[in-house]
Subunit: 340 residues, 2 copies
DNA sequence: TCTGTTTTCGGAAACGCTTCCGAATCGCCG
DNA sequence: CGGCGATTCGGAAGCGTTTCCGAAAACAGA
């Protein structure tokens, strides 16, 4: 049976209030007394019971992190950023992964309640109005990463610009037949960035006077093997694209796999650009849009910890920078194609 | 201010004991009364405060998961397995990542205490005697995954046999100069599997009458870029190896990168085998030793939940199967080499 | 109608902590 | 030595649950 604060008090011959004061430095204590208490704590191997502390203080010292697409490397990088900050604080991390829509709803309903957590960090999910209502009503400090809602603090990317930029790069290389492989635009999780990246893709094409061709657009689940299927289909079109802009690195890797399946050499016959710059992207030599994932995790918790301190601050919306990283999956289109 | 059980009791015109009974089905309640209580709960949007519940029941409904090498894909796969089970239970997951030795110690000290968590799941870390003492003393139900200690429940692999098997495969292909790139044998985290895999490597060589050559052994931090450096060194030896057995896929990928740096073609001039079968391994076409990572997570929590129910069960030690998955980074050694 | 049994329920106590009011002690000055 | 502010500390109250003792009500049997 673990020791309690009363055991310590008795052992040290002081009152429980004094022990608590020593534990939390909450009021001055005579050095001699403090030493007695410390000795007793050590002797009894006492650790304050967090449940008691929580109940008494009304704080849980826990931050909930909600992560969809957990299979995807980018999320892990963010989480690492979060953990690096948390390790130096006295908060714990409660992890909630989301793989399906019902799960998403269940998690958002169950988690966003006072008493479970002190704050909520949500990756890549834009809350619905209903979710938001609940969050606001329960007054749970919340920060969104890679998602947006005007009434909640958020960190997001200028996806439109980043995607446009990437596609412009392909256009400048000479590509005209540029395909897009992405997430479902009306994705069930209610995210915006899917539409944003697609929007950027369209903008770049239009600006260059290239017609946006439906045949060159494919949507699928955010997952390498599905992207591979989509790409197989795409690359067997009679007039196949010379470049693919993928919504995510994960999907870009699927495209690379498909190209290999079909003996299409990259970048000679096909250029591929991804999005995220996950760690494998480096290995795969993938040209991609880098978002500083680790850093987004760091900034996200830091903001959240801040919001926990100052619950009534007006929502901040921070834009994170992106950068096109050029590696070896992009090149000018094959010459023949241009001649024909 | 959230409603409490007293508010509900007052609203429903019953006692708090009755409300609690309804909440937990802990004793029979007259249907009419129950309905009144349920109405009040709905009306007040009442959710029991977990801190109160925890304190009262002495259970935290939280499982701590300790994960070193979090950058490494294999750990994520395991964690996914864990999460898939937890999603259907009423436990929460508290995540503790470990990146350094001091952190390892801090985490094992702070986490393994009653009152924080109901159970502890430790990945890939063999506890020291001191850790163990603490764990036993505090009576925290614990399960090790990919680690071993006679006095704690564990899931582990027969690393010796798996490694021997992999190296035998290389030998059968005709290789004689087989290098090993691994973790530090005396690794600071106190793990066994490092030594075990090396042991398997040695056993295979000896059984084939090949002398174990120190020049062909490299140890480094478990990380792709460091492995790459080690491999660069190794592959520039005057009499360079024709095959490399790597301790992990992550390191095997580093070897592949080094080979590419040096324009050594794989598998024509160099064979590489990894260990784990992480998801990228498939993409990289890496021959590797598969351990069913997701499944190890599933089995691990299931065992832990069981141990939480029956704290005094004698320690179980489950061996997980492994399998050599042959892809395209292994081939017979170059013929010239054999002639010279 | 009375007694004994079963069903149903109220609320005090306990969980381990923090907070804070007020009491005790100390130190200083006149 | 007396008085007063400063310092130090004890422990009751309260946080929101669950548990459980025992009381009240309902019911059954004679």
């Amino acid at each position: 049976m673990p020791a309690t604060i009363h055991d310590v008090a008795k052992k040290a011959g002081v009152g429980i209030g004094t022990v608590s004061s020593v534990l939390n430095n909450s009021r001055p204590v005579n050095p001699a007394t403090r030493q007695k208490v410390l000795d007793a704590i050590k002797w009894l191997d006492f650790v304050p019971n967090p449940s008691g502390r929580r109940l008494s203080m009304g704080k849980t010292h826990t931050i909930g992190v909600v992560i969809p697409f957990f299979t995807i490397a980018s999320q892990i990088e963010r989480l690492r950023g979060v953990m690096s900050v948390i390790a130096g604080s006295d908060y714990d991390i409660s992890l909630y992964t989301v793989e399906t829509v019902p799960q998403r709803n269940k998690v958002l309903q169950r988690v966003a309640r006072r008493g479970h957590i002190d704050g909520l960090l949500i990756f890549s999910l834009s809350p619905t109005e209903e979710d938001l209502q609940r969050i606001k009503q329960r007054q749970v400090p919340t920060v969104l990463i890679e998602a947006y809602h005007p009434e909640v603090h958020s960190l997001s990317l200028d996806d439109v610009a980043a995607a446009r930029n990437a596609v412009e790069y392909l256009i400048n290389l000479g590509h005209r037949k540029i395909a897009y492989i992405g997430d479902y635009l009306e994705d069930p999780f209610g995210t915006y960035f899917s539409r944003n990246r697609f929007e950027g893709y369209c903008q770049a094409l239009k600006a260059a006077g290239i017609t946006v061709d439906k045949r060159y657009q494919r949507q699928g689940w955010l997952d390498r093997s599905e992207a591979r299927q989509l790409a197989l289909d795409l690359l067997q079109l009679p007039d196949r694209p010379t470049a693919v802009f993928a919504f995510s690195d994960e999907q870009a890797l699927g495209v690379l796999e498909a190209a290999r399946d079909l003996d299409i050499s990259v970048p000679q016959q096909l250029s591929v650009i991804g999005y995220d710059d996950i760690r494998i992207a480096h290995f795969a030599q993938l040209t991609t849009v880098r978002q500083n994932l680790f850093d987004s995790g760091v900034k996200g918790v830091e903001l959240l910890l801040n919001v926990i301190e100052h619950p009534n601050a007006t929502p901040q919306h921070i834009q994170l920078p992106t950068k096109l990283v050029i590696r070896h999956t992009t090149a000018p289109p094959p010459v023949m194609e241009n001649i024909l």
